[in-house]
Symmetry: C2
Subunit: 434 residues, 2 copies
């Protein structure tokens, strides 16, 4: 928007990938515009801690303007993108004039995939937005309050049962955190709930938990979860669900809270661009993160499908992939715009993959090495603190963790609405023929 002569880079999405890209472009002779429908970047890897009342939403969300405010060549716009006009080279939104670009960066992330059962979204929120995390927190805490007050044993058992669907890292983390929260609350703060009535069920469709991890780490995670009281059901597909129960593998599980962590799909970018996405809706890109045949149109992070040359597989939807791609593309665009150089293609450096199981155990897979147990937990905590965007968040979260580690308290057990929040997602963006 500033300076008509400057080359214009428009970045759609202010998550890890988009922000890393925008930061690298800060201070360059380039007019950068970041468009997002939310005003904050969310540290999704810790969202399960908001859902289990260990952190406040504000602890893991950064205003995009705060992150980018000091770069005077970067403009931030809060709007919902509705399509891309490839002819006119503009981004269409719900409330602005079309935003023109010379180079476009799409980093709009992913959403949970309900595999055609979109009515399950309301019963079983995922863990992608603050709204969903808050809905889960609300439901968990409200279920315990209602269990405390009911005299009906079956109803109490149902209210105290949580079902987590999906045995990847998010599902494992969520199941462990719910089990710990429940046990802690029951033993200390409730009077009429027997600890034997608490139930956390983790349902996985495949043969084992953590399919992306080496088998010994997955087996360790299963043992640790079982020690926390989590029931693990593998090779079970969810057949139906209602507000009161989940049916999986023929078994009916009456449940008070259901959480969805069973697979993702990319955002609508493929349709905006009129290209064919892969099975998960991701847009295929080349080593320069550019879409084949669409000059100057880049897709990053969870929205992109990039084959990793080291493994021959597509890169996974991880924060570290998104950040590395964003940083790489920002630098590449600077070089390309200033000197017309294309440079070497992007190469992913695997920093290791982790899943945490409750307050004291984690598994870490570095490819060339593995770590598990308490040491892995401390490493995980350290890495996640360092990853948090700003210094203030790092400091705050570490103080809270340290304090909770000592006291086992949960500080943000807040039921802040009189009724459970319906975790209705925003309406899907309108599509415009590209």
């Amino acid at each position: 928007m500033a300076g008509k002569e400057l080359p214009r880079v428009v970045i759609v999405g202010g998550g890890f990938a988009g922000l890393a890209c925008a930061r690298e472009l800060g201070g360059a002779d380039i007019a950068v515009t970041v468009i997002d429908r939310r005003n904050h970047n969310l540290f999704q890897p810790l969202l399960y801690q908001v859902a289990t009342a260990a952190l406040s939403p504000g602890d893991i969300a950064e205003p995009i303007r705060k992150t980018l405010g000091r770069h005077r060549n970067v403009t931030v716009l809060l709007a919902e993108v509705t399509g891309i006009d490839l002819e006119a080279r503009t981004v269409l939104t719900d409330r602005l004039e079309p935003v023109p670009f010379d180079h476009l960066v799409i980093a709009t992330g992913s959403d949970y995939n309900y595999f055609g059962h979109d009515d399950w979204r309301e019963i079983a929120p995922g863990l992608k937005t603050i709204r969903e995390a808050r809905a889960i927190r609300q439901r968990l805490l409200t279920a315990f309050e209602e269990a405390e007050m009911t005299a009906d044993e079956a109803a109490q058992r149902r209210l105290l049962t949580s079902v987590v669907i999906g045995g990847g890292p998010t599902g494992v983390e969520m199941a462990g955190a719910i089990a710990e929260l429940g046990r802690f609350m029951v033993s200390r703060d409730f009077r009429h709930i027997g600890a034997d009535r608490l139930r956390v069920v983790l349902v996985e469709g495949g043969p084992r938990l953590l399919p992306a991890f080496p088998e010994p780490l997955a087996a360790y995670a299963a043992r640790r979860l079982e020690r926390l009281g989590v029931e693990i059901m593998t090779e079970r597909m969810v057949e139906t669900m209602s507000a009161e129960e989940v049916v999986a593998g023929g078994e009916t599980i009456p449940a008070g809270v259901v959480v969805w962590a069973a697979g993702v799909k990319a955002s609508a970018a493929a349709r905006w661009l009129g290209v064919e996405g892969d099975r998960m809706g991701r847009v295929p890109v080349d080593g320069w993160l550019e879409v084949a045949g669409l000059d100057g149109i880049h897709v990053l992070g969870d929205t992109a499908r990039l084959i990793d040359e080291a493994t021959g597989e597509p890169l996974p939807g991880l924060a570290q992939v998104a950040k590395q791609q964003g940083r790489w593309l920002g630098r590449a665009l600077r070089r390309r715009i200033a000197r017309g150089e294309r440079g070497a293609p992007f190469r992913f450096r695997d920093r290791g993959n982790a899943a945490v199981i409750g307050n004291n155990a984690a598994v870490f897979d570095f490819g060339w090495s593995r770590l598990k147990g308490r040491a892995a937990w401390f490493l995980w905590a350290l890495v996640h603190i360092l990853l948090l965007v700003s210094f203030e968040k790092r400091l705050l979260v570490s103080v809270q963790w340290a304090w909770r580690y000592v006291t086992r308290q949960r500080g943000t057990r807040l039921i802040d609405e009189p009724l459970p929040v319906e975790p209705q997602e925003e309406p899907a963006p309108e599509l415009t023929e590209g």
Copy 2:
């Protein structure tokens, strides 16, 4: 609920008064039940900081169960009280069997008084609940985002105008905090908003701000607010308002955000008890905080009208009054139940009254002495940190304040819902003939 032979004390309301009372009863041979419609106690004096994105809701809210969990004779119930059956001596709620009591403590606080214009509540939320504070935060931040994106100058001026109604401490604090937030955001994070378009208007019906404070302190507060850019309009009553403007004293002020801080009324306790409340709906109590003619029925805090013998005036609705009354009554009930002693009546000790103006100034009135300026601000901050219920909150808030004092950053500028939240209060409790 535990042990039928134990004397039963039921406390309705888990705010400052109710919790202080429950804590004093902890460990006694008394079955104590605390009933609240929310699961948390809110530190209302800092709610304006949530509304202006300086603190997270979780920073100033404590789960009631967390506060009371270690007292095994205390049961906490989450329910909405709908009435009191004075004959049967039970508390009626929306979801439980009637809860029997021997001694009843009502500490249900106060609500904003819209003086018959209840339709204004949605346009101009007050500052009593997290929901309202979050709605104000949402509206402030969204108005700035919209102002950044509009090309219409009149619309931009309207969006950047905030009107605060009521010149007491809450109104003064809110106006100062909005002015600081706006100036900070505009100078750093926005590109298309001129600082000259920011406007904060503080409307007061009486002849001056802070009527409960000595005149010189009020004059100082007015000067400080004006230095922050706040326009002060005294002797102006609000005549009408809509989502787009406020009409006060014949003048129409187009406004993006309106906040109500213009007077409170007590909760429904008087009607529950079938007694006549005063002009503000408060229940008259004697020096033992007991309602005349209703043996064993006590009313505290904002809900009670107790004439202070020192001044001949009713005690004001302050956190310190509520806490002192709660503590006193807890001890008095212990003595009365154990030994039948009535003891000396309650006596309020005034710890001083404060209002803060922006980040660096406050006024403090101790009755026998006064303080203003930066020293008063530091004293205010210290007092409020010490007042926060638990150690963790104290630590966290002080870290955040210290950090913000250095950086002038606002960490929790979170717009977490796609649309502004309607600050609809919970429906008024159904009344039951006592």
